[in-house]
């Protein structure tokens, strides 16, 4: 039995689930913004990165870990809200490449500012739980307290978002503003506020992700922290469908597991290649995502 639990396949699945949880969270944050405002946010990695620097920087002033995490989340809420109001709102109704370009500019500027203020040297973050694998009969099982924490966090965040959207009045208003802004406005929903809230939520989900990535991936916190992760997160979101939160997280986790096997049985360079092929094939088969109902395009 323990030979099965420590076997290569089980270890790969467990490691894959951990990575997949991260991809799923990034995908989820992309979906939140996409649903609210029809913008694919290319700064979705950089905004939380900045919030993480702001919050976790307080660790060097001996603030308690969880207080720093709280500051990160508050900073993320603020950054998300201000970004939507200042940068995104003027672009509604413009050609769809305009917000893409603006968000790429925002990505460049955030990474440059982060590097100018905090330098490009990686800054190691303490993990709140041990990142060393549990062992069974002397063999690592591919699961550590920290990676379990990651998976649980991803599931909790996803559950919270789904609960918010499905079962609360606020969630109903959020969905209504995204689907039918005019009607919602007539019915008294503050649509503008809802769109801002969508961006704030998305950046907060991103901040959770960025903290996990910076403490786990042996990279530490760097300005370019989220570039690669963003690509995987986008692939997960596009495969699952940019409109579906559950689809995004599901395909993120599936992608994590598949790519873990690719990295283990082929080589590490093949990971992103296979991810790219998955993206291209799935977009050709179903441009609106594998896990969504297809909808007629609005003309």
């Amino acid at each position: 039995m323990d030979s099965f639990l420590t076997s290569r396949i089980v270890t790969d699945i467990l490691n894959g689930l951990t990575n997949g949880a991260i991809y799923g969270l990034v995908a989820l944050s992309l979906v939140l913004v996409w649903r609210a405002t029809r913008v694919l946010n290319f700064a979705q990695g950089a905004m939380p990165m900045f919030a993480t620097y702001l919050g976790m920087g307080l660790l060097s002033y001996h603030w308690p870990y969880w207080v720093c995490v709280g500051v990160c989340l508050v900073a993320a809420f603020a950054i998300g809200g201000v970004t939507e109001r200042v940068l995104v709102r003027p672009l509604y109704g413009k050609p769809e490449i305009n917000p893409i370009v603006v968000m790429v500019g925002y990505l460049i500027i955030l990474e440059a500012f982060a590097a100018a203020i905090w330098s490009t040297t990686p800054r190691s973050l303490p993990a709140p739980f041990s990142p060393i694998d549990w062992r069974l009969a002397g063999q690592p099982v591919g699961l550590s307290p920290f990676s379990l924490f990651e998976v649980v966090t991803a599931l909790v965040v996803m559950g919270a978002i789904v609960t918010l959207f499905r079962f609360t009045r606020l969630g109903l208003q959020l969905r209504a503003s995204a689907l039918a802004p005019e009607v919602s406005r007539l019915l008294g929903v503050r649509v503008g506020r809802m769109l801002t809230l969508g961006w704030m939520l998305s950046t907060a989900v991103g901040a959770v992700t960025a903290i996990l990535v910076a403490s786990n991936f042996f990279t530490g916190l760097t300005p370019q922290l989220m570039d690669g992760i963003f690509a995987f997160g986008f692939i997960a979101a596009a495969v699952g469908g940019l409109d579906s939160p559950v689809g995004a997280v599901t395909s993120g986790i599936a992608l994590g597991v598949i790519l873990q096997f690719v990295g283990d049985y082929l080589n590490s360079n093949a990971i992103i290649l296979v991810a790219l092929v998955i993206l291209i094939v799935s977009l050709m088969v179903r441009p609106s995502g594998l896990l969504t109902r297809s909808a007629a395009r609005r003309v």
Binding site: V39, L40, I97, G105, D227, A238, N269, L273, L283
Partner: protein, 399 residues
Amino acid sequence: MSAVARHGAVALGAFVVSVALAVSLAPRASDTVAAVVVAVVAAAAGFVGSLPAVRVGHPALARAMLTVVLVDAMVFATTFLSVPTDFNLATGAAMAIALLGLSFLTGASGQISIGNGAFMGVGAFATAIWANHHATTPIVVVLLISVAVGALFGLLLGLPATRLRGPYLAGMTLAFAVAFPAILSSFSSWTGGDSGLQLPNTVTPPHWLVGLFHAGTPTLTTDTLWLTDIIMVATGVAFFFMANLFASRTGRAMRLVRDNDVAAELVGVNLPRTRVIAFVISAAYAALGGALWTLLNNSVSPATYGFALSITILAVIVIGGIGTISGALIGGVVYAYSTSVIAWFVARTGLNPQGNLASQLNGIIFGALLIVTMMFSPLGIAGTIRHLRRRRALARERG
């Protein structure tokens, strides 16, 4: 004065000025001869191109003549500039070709790519790999092969584009840009891994030309100059083709796809085909730019073609004017001189040049310009110039 006489006078004036410049600047008699030849060509082409009958009746011929004048003037200028300046100009000109591809993609089909740095890399490595296996192939053939390889990659990635709309395609090209270094590493026996490739021999001018034009000048100068001139000619050809394409029936169909794809489909434009063609052309142009960079540097390194290059390309073309032809030229100039302008600025303000802020100034300025441009003048510098000229023309009409 009739229009013909006026254009004739302009051409004659340009001719006299160029000859005078040539005689006063050229250090050797052979250079003077070359300069006079250049001036005659420029004046003649300018005269033919500006004839009203040609401009109205044969717009393609007029564009060809304009291209000849510009390339001719650049070749003439590079003869008198220093080697580093030539190198800088050539770098910017090759970049302008890549920018033109991206500008076309957006201007003609409303799509956007964040992966054109990787397509430049495809062309750059195709050139280096081919040159290492077949050292004797003429440059023109090597360049054409690289363009073809770039187009092939464009086709592979562009196929999903038949069914995709803007954001998805942008995300997919971003994933390609992020994946490109891993692609290079996967085929390290071909691409040389992290250290990249050297070209087996430098591109040198043919002997008869060396004797005719640059007798006795040091090899490095002649080689850089020769490459610069090749790149100027390539840039001219690339811009000429693009100007014609923009004005052609295909170009009009593409602009309709950009402005209203439903209407385009109604009048019989094949949407998927048009989108893929635009994407393939954009990739081919990027590949040509990268191939020319490889020739110019005589080597290629994977570090050049990372994600950063892709977003720099996007930034530069947006600042120059995405969707316009002149915007690509302006973007090329911006790219060629941004580093030295920022260095000058750092020196003026007394920032520590090795400090964090100075080393990130490039990103901060480009990022800010990108946002400001899209917010206030989405057609960039080229669009602003066009707007100002139109307003002046309107004011003149009103008197």
